[in-house]
């Protein structure tokens, strides 16, 4: 149980380190994606600690898992992909403007333009 959480935590950490440390802006967006999936995994994993059946009521269903985190994560996944799309569009725009994907080069070129 603790091992699973630590693995998820490592996934989040890997994602966050890419956001902070990667030079390539598309890799930064990858990192954001990973960070998001780590949190989704955490919610779903912990939400299924109670109960044994999928939360679809029907004949013989008595012991369902907690459906609240699942519903929350549907929203979170969608918001995550929206932000990803926007970030990538911005990244493409930055590339077209500066001809580079490295964050430092982009920033330097934009500021020298001023």
């Amino acid at each position: 149980m603790v091992i699973e959480r630590i693995l998820i935590f490592l996934l989040a950490l890997v994602g966050f380190s890419a956001i902070v440390g990667a030079k390539n802006i598309i890799k930064k967006v990858f990192g954001l994606n990973l960070l998001n999936s780590a949190i989704v995994l955490l919610y779903i994993l912990e939400g299924s600690r109670i109960g044994e059946q999928a939360p679809i009521l029907g004949e013989g269903v008595t012991n369902i898992v907690d459906p609240v985190p699942q519903a929350l994560m549907l929203t979170a996944i969608v918001i995550g992909v929206c932000v990803t799309a926007l970030a990538l569009a911005l990244a493409v725009r930055l590339y077209k403007a500066t001809g580079s994907l490295e964050i430092d080069t982009i920033s330097a070129r934009l500021h020298s333009e001023q």
Binding site: G15, I26, K27, V29, S37, V40, L41, S48, L88, A91
Partner: protein, 77 residues
């Protein structure tokens, strides 16, 4: 079993960030999404699994591929 899947997910994620070819990273990420969808079904969350499969392996991949086609495939780090 979940531990194994999580381990795979973690290594795919690390691969996506370490690979110098961004297209490989995208494929790794979409595989990661499929694995998490598998994990969600095992964890009794079919709704989330469908969403993750449709969104993570579907739309995100399309957008990522689009972005990479418009920019450069190689990454320096």
């Amino acid at each position: 079993m979940t531990i194994l899947l999580l381990f795979l997910i973690l290594s795919l994620g690390s691969f996506a960030l370490l690979s110098k070819d961004l297209l490989h990273s995208v494929i790794a990420l979409s595989a990661l999404s499929m694995l998490s969808a598998l994990m969600f079904t095992m964890l009794k969350a079919p709704d989330v699994a469908i969403t993750e499969a449709a969104v993570g392996a579907g739309i995100s991949t399309i957008i990522f591929v689009w972005a990479i086609r418009h920019t450069r495939r190689r990454s320096k780090d």
